[in-house]
Subunit: 180 residues, 2 copies
DNA sequence: TGGGTCATGTAACCTGTTACATGATTAG
DNA sequence: CTAATCATGTAACAGGTTACATGACCCA
């Protein structure tokens, strides 16, 4: 249920086309949500049916015509409702393909598991560095009761997640490599 | 792509019905993969079309008849192929609904975010305790080059994930509560 | 001048969720 | 005795992925 609400959230900032939203997603939310471009179009369609957004066609000559979406009063209400709703269990659903593969790795030589972990480690490293750079680029962030820095808390989460994963990989790999 | 392969993995242990597999999933893999019962039936169907499993009808009188699945040679080959394939990027796709909600929480009073985090914390606590109990129940695990204890590495991951989340929640909540 | 990328989307497919059905057995 | 749970699934819908289409513009 989060993609629609993510789109609503972005649309509170400004009116946007599906294409814009796809970019915005990638720029601002991608370290905790990967949004598929074509899915965004479909979701916007449904959201219009629900009355959460309204679109208008904009003719362009150098580029394909586009459809620009704006959030409605209903959409705002729905966003607030979702934010206020307490549904922690739903949010806690896990699905970790890395662990799934690792779990069954007893069927193949351990080098395959080691390689996979090392590859994964690289990705974590890169992601961690990227987030760190982004945070550094922002500098000091002010936090007040009226405007907590939620963005910062989310990045803090991601940073630590990558760090714990890297540590776990290092330990697991060396554990595997020591085995005789 | 992991559900099918998880099912293949379980089917290397013993022949099972869809129902059995659903239980097995919940008992052994649920802390890193939530599998939906009805989805399992559909996947088994497709896996039979692919030639990865073979089913036979078993008539029962006290209970509904069932269909028991066994893994084929093709299925085994596919499982091995999947285990050997290096696809770390695919495994790294993130989607975190908790962070999505937190990110937009500036639209509502901060108490809602605090509540959500506290609820979520409870769930982490419970899950952590459950895994700890399970690990303790197993006792010493032997690890050899021929049989690394992958199960243990996966639980170790989950334990640490819950721990880091709990720590992050505590810090974030107190940060939020201090704001004036 | 030919191959990438920008800017816009559509169509088809695959994966996950929710709701329902049925008859037996167990718990309170 | 009645409600829950076991043991088996099916059907419909919602959400996510992959592949493709089109015309302009930009780089080598």
């Amino acid at each position: 249920m989060s993609l629609k609400h993510g789109l609503l959230g972005l649309l509170t900032l400004r009116k946007s086309s599906g294409y814009d939203l796809s970019k915005l997603f990638q720029e601002s939310l991608s370290f905790f949500w990967v949004a598929n471009q074509s899915q965004i179009y479909r979701e916007l369609d449904k959201m219009e049916d629900l009355g959460w957004v309204l679109s208008s066609k904009v003719e362009q000559d150098a580029r394909p015509n586009k459809r620009v979406y704006g959030i409605t009063k209903e959409g705002n209400k729905e966003l607030i409702r979702w934010l206020k709703e307490g549904n922690a269990e739903d949010l806690a659903v896990v699905r970790n393909p890395l662990l799934m593969k690792l779990f069954f790795s007893g069927k193949v030589d351990k080098e395959y598991a080691v390689n996979l972990l090392k590859e994964y480690r690289k990705i974590c490293e890169e992601a961690r560095a990227e987030i760190a750079a982004e945070v550094a680029g922002i500098g000091e962030v002010e936090e007040t009761a009226a405007k907590p820095a939620y963005w910062l808390y989310a990045t803090e989460y991601s940073m630590r997640q990558y760090e714990f994963q890297i540590k776990w990989i290092d330990e697991t790999v060396s554990r595997l490599e020591k085995l005789k």
